[in-house]
C-alpha cells in the first residue's frame, strides 16, 4: 500500500544516517544524564530537518508531511528524546504559525524556525489544564496595541531551549473555550522566564520545563489568529502533533522489535538461541505484526494530511494505536531480555521508560478514544 517516493526514501536515509552518526553514540548518555543533545539539534538544523514540511519560501525543505513523519520515526528509533525535540518544534510550534499566521508573521518567524536557527515550543498545558485544556488561567489583557500576559505553563517540551513560544491565554473568561487566544511570544520579551525543570521517567534528553509569564507585553501583531480562536488553533495543531507523536511511538516500537530480534538470536540458553523457542517466536511474530499495523495507520494519517483531506480521526487512531503498541512492545522487549532488560545500559530498559509518555502527552489515549468515538457516532 505504501510505496514511498524516491524523495521520501532519500529523506528516510538522511534521517537514518543522521540518527546513526549523531544520536546513536550518545543516546544512552543523553538518557542517563538528561543531557540536551546539542550537537544533534545543530546537525538537524544543518540538514534541513527542522523544517521538513514547510515550503522553501519560508525556509523549509519543501517536502511533505509523510517525509517528516518518516524522519521522526527514524530518529525516534534511535533516540526518542531527539525525536520529540524535533516533533514539538516542527508540529507544535512551526505549524500553527504556518497555518494560522499572517504573511508578516510567517515571514518574520518561520525562516528562522524552519532553518533551525530558532527553536520553538508549544505552551498550552497548565497545572489545572491538562486534558481539560479549556480551563486556561493564563490571561491576556489588551492594553493599547499589545496584550499583557500573566500566568504559568507546565510540562513544556523544549521549554528552556526555545526562542519562540506559541502561548495560549484567556482574552475573555466569560466565553469559556471561545475566550482563548493564541500568541507568538519570544523568549526575549521581558517577563518571560523558565521555571522548574522536570525530572522525567523517560525522554530525558528532551527538556520539559515550566514557562512563567509575568506581565509580558506581546504586540497585538503577534496574536495568532483572531481573538477567541485560540482553542481552535490549539486543537488543530494537536491534530498534526498527534501524527508526529505517533511517528515517535512507531520509532520506539520498531526499536523494541529490532532489539528483541537481535537479543533472541544471540542469547543462548540450554545450548541454543532463545529464538529457537516457539513461545518467543510467537512473541516476535505478534510484535512485528503490530508494528506493521501501526506503521500503516501513521503513514495513512500523514498522507491524508498531505492530500488536504480531513485527518483528525485517523491521526487519533494512529496516535492511540502506535503509542499503545510502543508501550506493549517495549515491555515485551524487556521481558525477552530477561534480567538484562532490567539493567541500565540495555536499550530495552530505556525504551520502556521512553514509551510511556506517548500514551499521555499531546492527548492521552483516553482523549484519543473520545475523539474517535465522537467522529464515529456523529
Amino acid at each position: 500500500m505504501f510505496t514511498l517516493t524516491e524523495e521520501q526514501e532519500l529523506i528516510r536515509n538522511t534521517a537514518r544516517e543522521f540518527a546513526a552518526q549523531y544520536c546513536a553514540p550518545i543516546a544512552a548518555e543523553v538518557d542517563d544524564e538528561a543531557r540536551w543533545p546539542e550537537e544533534s539539534v545543530a546537525a538537524m538544523a544543518e540538514l534541513g530537518l527542522m523544517g521538513v514540511p514547510y515550503p522553501d519560501k519560508y525556509g523549509g525543505a519543501g517536502a511533505d508531511y509523510l517525509s517528516y513523519t518518516v524522519a521522526v520515526e527514524e530518529i525516534s528509533r534511535v533516540c526518542a528524546s531527539t525525536g520529540v525535540i524535533l516533533s514539538a518544534h516542527v508540529s507544535l510550534a512551526c505549524w500553527p504559525i504556518y497555518h494560522f499566521g499572517t504573511e508578516e508573521q510567517k515571514l518574520k518567524y518561520l525562516p528562522d524556525m524552519a532553518s533551525g536557527a530558532k527553536l520553538g515550543a508549544f505552551c498550552l498545558t497548565e497545572a489545572g489544564a491538562g486534558t481539560d485544556a479549556g480551563s486556561q488561567t493564563t490571561t491576556a489583557v489588551l492594553d493599547g496595541d499589545s496584550y499583557i500576559l500573566n500566568g504559568s505553563k507546565v510540562f513544556i517540551t523544549n521549554g528552556d531551549k526555545a526562542d519562540v513560544f506559541i502561548v495560549f491565554a484567556m482574552t475573555d473568561k466569560s466565553k469559556g473555550t471561545k475566550g482563548i487566544s493564541a500568541f507568538i511570544v519570544e523568549k526575549a520579551f521581558p517577563g518571560v522566564a523558565v521555571g522548574k525543570h522536570e525530572r522525567k521517567m523517560g525522554i530525558r534528553g528532551a527538556h520539559t520545563t515550566e514557562i512563567l509569564l509575568r506581565d509580558v507585553r506581546v504586540p497585538a501583531a503577534n496574536r495568532l489568529g483572531k481573538e477567541g480562536e485560540g482553542f481552535k488553533v490549539a486543537m488543530a495543531t494537536l491534530d498534526g502533533g498527534r501524527v508526529g507523536i505517533a511517528a515517535q511511538a512507531l520509532g520506539i516500537a520498531q526499536a523494541a522489535l529490532d532489539e528483541s530480534i537481535k537479543w533472541a538470536k544471540e542469547r543462548q540458553q540450554f545450548g541454543k538461541p532463545i529464538a529457537a523457542n516457539q513461545g518467543l517466536q510467537f512473541m516476535i511474530a505478534d510484535m512485528a505484526t503490530q508494528v506493521q499495523a501501526a506503521r500503516h495507520l501513521v503513514y495513512h494519517a500523514a498522507s491524508l494530511k498531505d492530500e488536504g483531506k480531513p485527518y483528525s480521526k485517523e491521526a487519533s487512531m494512529a496516535k492511540l494505536f502506535a503509542a499503545e503498541t510502543a508501550m506493549q512492545q517495549a515491555i515485551k522487549a524487556v521481558q525477552i531480555h530477561g534480567g538484562y532488560g532490567y539493567i541500565k545500559g540495555t536499550t530495552a530498559e530505556r525504551l520502556m521508560r521512553d514509551a510511556k509518555i506517548t500514551e499521555i502527552y499531546e492527548g492521552t489515549s483516553e482523549v484519543q478514544r473520545m475523539v474517535i468515538a465522537a467522529t464515529c457516532l456523529k
Partner: protein, 314 residues
C-alpha cells in the same frame, strides 16, 4: 609471447607465482616467463631457478609509477594464454590497465585456480566483504588474474638457469612520482611472525595491550589488531591492522582476543594454521572462525594463558 606469464613486485610472491605458474604452464603445454621490475633483478634470476623458462625485468624510468609499464607489458602478454600478477596495490592497477588494453577479463585477488578439461580456468574470489565466495570461469585468452601473496606455496629450487631480458619502459610525461615517504617499520612485520595475537575493542584501554604483548612474546610472535583499534583509536600503527583491506597473516597460531569476529577482520587470518579465540561473549561470531575457543574475561585469561605457555614453551 604465448605461454604463461607471471608478474610480481616482491621476490617471495614472484617465486610463489612461478611455482604455480610452472604447474599451469605444464598443463597448457606452454612456456613460463617471470616478469618483475628491474629493481627486483635478483628475483628474476631466482625465478629461473624455481621453474621459469625465462625472465624479464622492466626498466622503469626514474620518477615513473609502475602502471606506466602497461604498454610494454601488454605487448609481452598479447599472445599469452595466462597472465598472473602478484596482487600488490600498484600491480592491481597495472593488471587492470593491461586487461583493458587486451579486452580481457581479470579475476581480482583469486583464492584458487582450477584448470578445466577444455583449457579454461575456474577461479574463486571473496565478495561481500568476505561473506561470500564467487566463482568465475576464465576462457578467452589471455586469462588474467591477480593473486595475493602467500596464496600458493614457495616452490622447490632447481638448477635451471637462463638469461634475464631487459625491457625498457617508455616514460609517460603526464605522470610523475615526485616523492616517496617510506613507511617506517615499527617492530616486527606481523606477516612474518610465527604467532600473532590480534586485539579488538574488547580491550578497554591502550595500556591493556601489554597483556597481549606479553602473550605474543611468550610465543615469539607479534601483536596485530582489528581496524578500529588502528584507525579509530590509533593504539597501534596501521601496519598492524589485519583484515580485508589491511594485512593478511598466515601464522602457525593466531589468537583473537576481545574481537567479535567480523568477516572483514577474520578474512585476514584465513590462512592461519590454528586460530584461537578468547571472548567473554559466548555468542561472538569469532568462535565459528576458530579452532579452539575459550569463553572468558580476557583480563584473567590472558595472564593465565601467558603463564601456562611459559611453562610449556620455556
Amino acid at each position: 609471447m604465448p605461454g604463461v606469464i607471471v608478474f610480481a613486485e616482491q621476490h617471495s610472491t614472484l617465486l610463489e607465482l612461478t611455482g604455480e605458474g610452472r604447474k599451469l604452464a605444464d598443463w597448457l603445454g606452454a612456456t613460463l616467463t617471470a616478469v618483475t621490475p628491474e629493481s627486483n633483478h635478483e628475483a628474476a634470476l631466482d625465478a629461473m631457478a624455481h621453474g621459469a623458462d625465462g625472465a624479464v625485468v622492466l626498466r622503469l624510468p626514474a620518477g615513473q609509477p609502475l602502471e606506466t609499464a602497461a604498454a610494454e607489458l601488454t605487448e609481452l602478454a598479447a599472445d599469452a594464454d595466462l597472465v598472473l600478477f602478484g596482487a600488490t596495490l600498484r600491480a592491481k592497477g597495472l593488471a587492470a590497465r593491461v586487461a583493458a588494453r587486451l579486452g580481457a577479463p581479470l579475476a581480482a585477488e583469486a583464492l584458487s585456480l582450477r584448470p578445466q578439461a577444455d583449457g579454461a580456468l575456474e577461479v574463486d574470489r571473496m565478495v561481500y566483504g568476505g561473506g561470500g565466495i564467487a566463482t568465475q570461469l576464465l576462457r578467452t585468452r589471455p586469462m588474467m588474474a591477480t593473486i595475493p601473496a602467500r596464496t600458493f606455496p614457495a616452490p622447490a629450487a632447481g638448477p635451471r638457469t637462463g638469461e634475464v631480458r631487459v625491457i625498457a619502459v617508455a616514460a609517460d610525461a603526464r605522470v610523475r612520482v615526485v616523492a616517496q615517504r617510506p613507511r617506517t617499520q615499527e617492530g616486527t612485520d606481523i606477516a612474518e611472525a610465527p604467532a600473532v595475537v590480534g586485539v579488538g575493542r574488547g580491550m578497554a584501554k591502550a595500556e591493556d595491550l601489554a597483556l597481549a604483548e606479553a602473550l605474543a612474546g611468550t610465543m615469539g610472535g607479534a601483536v596485530g589488531c582489528t581496524r578500529p583499534v588502528a584507525e579509530d583509536l590509533g593504539w597501534l600503527p596501521e601496519d598492524r591492522y589485519i583484515g580485508i583491506s589491511g594485512r593478511k597473516v598466515a601464522p602457525r597460531v593466531y589468537v583473537a582476543v576481545g574481537t567479535s569476529g567480523q568477516v572483514q577482520h577474520v578474512s585476514g587470518v584465513r590462512d592461519a594454521k590454528v586460530v584461537v579465540a578468547i571472548n567473554k561473549d559466548e555468542n561472538a561470531p569469532i568462535f565459528k572462525h576458530a579452532d579452539y575457543g575459550l569463553v572468558g574475561d580476557l583480563y584473567t585469561a590472558l595472564p593465565a594463558l601467558t603463564a601456562e605457555l611459559k611453562k610449556l614453551l620455556g
